[in-house]
């Protein structure tokens, strides 16, 4: 405590006492009014500059935030525009390719092969009759669902998990589905159904319940094999946890192409005669 006591008791600079002592001894005062005035000018300057600085700094923070916000909006707009451009260009390329392939018999055959491959890989949009499986969280889980699903770690039994979706999707593939999408997210052979916190991710995009799984294929065969197989059993088990399901068919459904299908391997084709 001696430090604090010392501070409290000797708050006045010792220099003043010494200067007073010297003056009493007869020495002339060392400073002068001009030195004093210069010191006061300095103090005034310092305080004023600090005040101006403090006042300027607050808007500067806002300005920075606003600038960042504007930049985000700008970049998002650019990204959106580029994505639109990409979609347009893809359509143009597809059209051009279809036109070019139509010219020859071999081309037509190639085009058919291409369509089949695109359907199988998920690279192209598909259309056709489909089996739909609708999964909904149990009601008590939905009440809990008011919490942000990404942060809520509470164990909820009545919630559809990534494992449930994986099982249903795999059973649909096994039943002969040609193309599957979960909540409009087209699945490919490389798609991942995972979870982060309580949210289910398909290809790293979070989905929100309820979940609609649409499988294009021969609906009669699909339905029989899925419902009578392990898929139906699994849905019944889910029912005991309060997860409602609804299996139905639709005559014509259009599934979008999978997004972000990267090119992993490519080779330059051998220059055939005539082809440039």
């Amino acid at each position: 405590m001696s430090l604090l006591t010392n501070l409290m008791e000797n708050s006045l600079d010792a220099g003043y006492a010494e200067a007073a002592e010297r003056r009493r001894a007869g020495e002339a005062s060392s400073g002068g009014p001009w030195v004093f005035a210069a010191g006061m000018v300095l103090i005034g300057l310092l305080v004023a500059v600090a005040a101006a600085e403090a006042r300027n700094r607050a808007p500067a923070v806002d300005e920075t935030r606003e600038a960042l916000g504007n930049e985000i909006a700008e970049r998002t707009a650019v990204a959106d525009r580029l994505e639109n451009e990409l979609t347009e260009l893809r359509a143009a390329v597809d059209q051009a390719r279809a036109d070019a392939l139509q010219l020859t018999a071999a081309g037509t055959q190639l085009a058919d092969q291409l369509t089949a491959l695109e359907t199988a890989t998920g690279a192209g949009a598909v259309q056709g009759p489909a089996l739909t499986v609708h999964l909904e969280d149990a009601e008590e889980a939905q009440v809990d669902g008011s919490v942000d699903p990404r942060t809520d770690d509470e164990d909820a039994q009545g919630r559809v998990t990534d494992r449930d979706l994986q099982t249903v999707v795999n059973e649909l593939w096994a039943a002969g589905a040609e193309a599957i999408a979960v909540n409009e997210q087209r699945l490919t052979a490389l798609s991942a159904i995972r979870s982060a916190g309580q949210a289910v991710l398909v290809d790293f995009r979070p989905l929100s319940p309820p979940y609609d799984i649409v499988a294009i294929g021969d609906t009669d065969r699909l339905q029989t094999r899925f419902v009578d197989g392990f898929g139906g059993t699994y849905l019944d088990v889910l029912e005991t946890y309060g997860i409602e399901h609804d299996v139905g068919t639709e005559d014509a459904v259009r599934l979008p192409a999978a997004s972000g299908l990267p090119v992993r391997r490519a080779t330059v084709p051998e220059p055939a005669g005539g082809a440039g």
């Binding site: 604090l4 501070l7 409290m8 008791e9 708050s11 006045l12 600079d13 220099g15 003043y16 006492a17 010494e18 200067a19 007073a20 003056r23 005062s29 060392s30 400073g31 002068g32 009014p33 001009w34 030195v35 004093f36 005035a37 210069a38 010191g39 006061m40 000018v41 300095l42 103090i43 005034g44 300057l45 310092l46 305080v47 004023a48 500059v49 600090a50 005040a51 101006a52 600085e53 403090a54």
Partner: protein
Amino acid sequence: MIAALGLLLGIVAGLFLEPTVPVWLQPYLPIAVVAALDALFGGLRSLLDGIFDDKVFVVSFVANVLVAALIVFLGDQLGVGAQLSTGVVVVLGIRIFSNAAAIRRHLFRA
């Protein structure tokens, strides 16, 4: 009188000229202001005590500001700038308080 004019001149100059403070100097401004306040209150008290001295006042002011800034600078280099700033503010704050208390005793005799 000259002193009051000087203070006024300084404030006016600071407000109207608006000198741009270099970025590296900005963190030390608040500390410098606290140090200046300490010198100011010290001077006022010594004036009331009857032992005021121009030179001691100016030198103590300049030295206070420089030392305070130096300590904070050193702290920044060592990675404990925030803690040392707090230390400087606490010490100068206590001094300002006790000087203000002494001034109050002089003025109000209470």
